[in-house]
Amino acid sequence: MMPDLGAYATEIILAYSLSLTAIAVMILWIWARSRRVKRDLAALETRMNRKPHG
């Protein structure tokens, strides 16, 4: 299934693996930050709603 990359196999594999890793890290970072901020906001809103207004 793997195509014959000939003499340039190292360069092509390097380009694909590092680029896809960079994209995956970026997606994971955005997703993890989104989850953390969402959780912090929910906790803060719950805490503020419990406090008596006045």
Binding site: M1, P3, D4, L5, G6, A7, Y8, A9, E11, I12, L14, A15, Y16, L18, S19, A22, I23, M26, I27, W29, I30, W31, R33, S34, V37, K38, D40, L41, L44, E45, R47, M48, K51, G54
Partner: protein, 244 residues
């Protein structure tokens, strides 16, 4: 028809982006997977560049997004400076790290491609140099957002930086034409006669390019939603401190 400015309202933006973001993410994922599998496994070797032509399916879409991410930030920054819509400033902030990653991928894949084709990883060619400067502008833009405590002041200063950096975004795109020298070729895809690329390359390349556009949209929407929530956290904390 609803005015575009309605979406500058954070509540409206959160509502629309809540369903738009997963849709764009699914389209992006599907197109990138199809485009890269097609490009990597099912395209023939180029008669001059051999199998290294397969790098084009990452290099061109990432370079496209590196420049267009800055263009989007430029428009969002202008909207902030003129109309003071917070969502536009936060969208520009969210686009910064994505654009920086795309620029880094374009520079890296370009170097890896250049080594076997040009015999060097790097050369101070107009397009390569302007791309490197664009990357440094991205880093500066992200650092400036982090360095300033007051969000409105940060938005003002980063918007000005974005306007200045736009010169290099334009240069990155047209450097090969402006200077007409250097190792980097002109546009890979062009309507001009004589610049032909076979459809066996064009097909997966177009799919990857559209996939990267949707990936950028999905990530900017996700990032902007996070920034809006972060801003609300800060506002609530100020309110909490004031009522304590």
């Amino acid at each position: 028809m609803a005015s575009l400015w309605e979406y500058a309202n954070p509540v409206k933006f959160m509502k629309v982006s809540g369903w738009l973001m997963p849709v764009t993410a699914v389209i992006a994922g599907a197109m990138i997977v199809v485009g890269l599998i097609w490009g990597f496994f099912f395209t023939p070797d180029d008669f001059r560049q051999g199998s290294t032509v397969k790098i084009i399916f990452l290099h061109v879409p990432s370079a496209l997004m590196a420049i267009n991410a800055w263009a989007m930030m430029f428009i969002a920054s202008l909207i902030w400076l003129i109309r003071r819509h917070h969502v536009s400033a936060l969208a520009a902030k969210a686009a910064g790290p994505i654009g920086a990653t795309m620029t880094m991928i374009a520079l890296f894949t370009g170097a890896v491609w250049g080594q076997p084709m040009w015999g060097t990883w790097w050369v101070w060619d107009p397009r390569l140099t302007s791309f490197l400067i664009l990357f440094l502008f991205y880093i500066g833009y992200i650092a400036l957002w982090s360095a300033i405590e007051d969000p409105d002041t940060a938005a003002d200063l980063t918007s000005v930086l974005c306007l200045v950096g736009s010169v290099f975004a334009v240069l990155s795109r047209y450097a090969a034409i402006f200077w007409n020298q250097g190792l980097h070729q002109g546009a890979s895809l062009s309507m001009a006669p004589g610049t032909r690329m076979d459809w066996s390359y064009k097909g997966p390349l177009y799919i990857c390019m559209i996939g990267f556009v949707f990936l950028f949209l999905a990530l900017v929407l996700a990032g902007t939603r996070t920034e809006i929530r972060n801003r609300r956290i800060k506002a609530l904390m100020i309110r909490e401190r004031a009522t304590a």
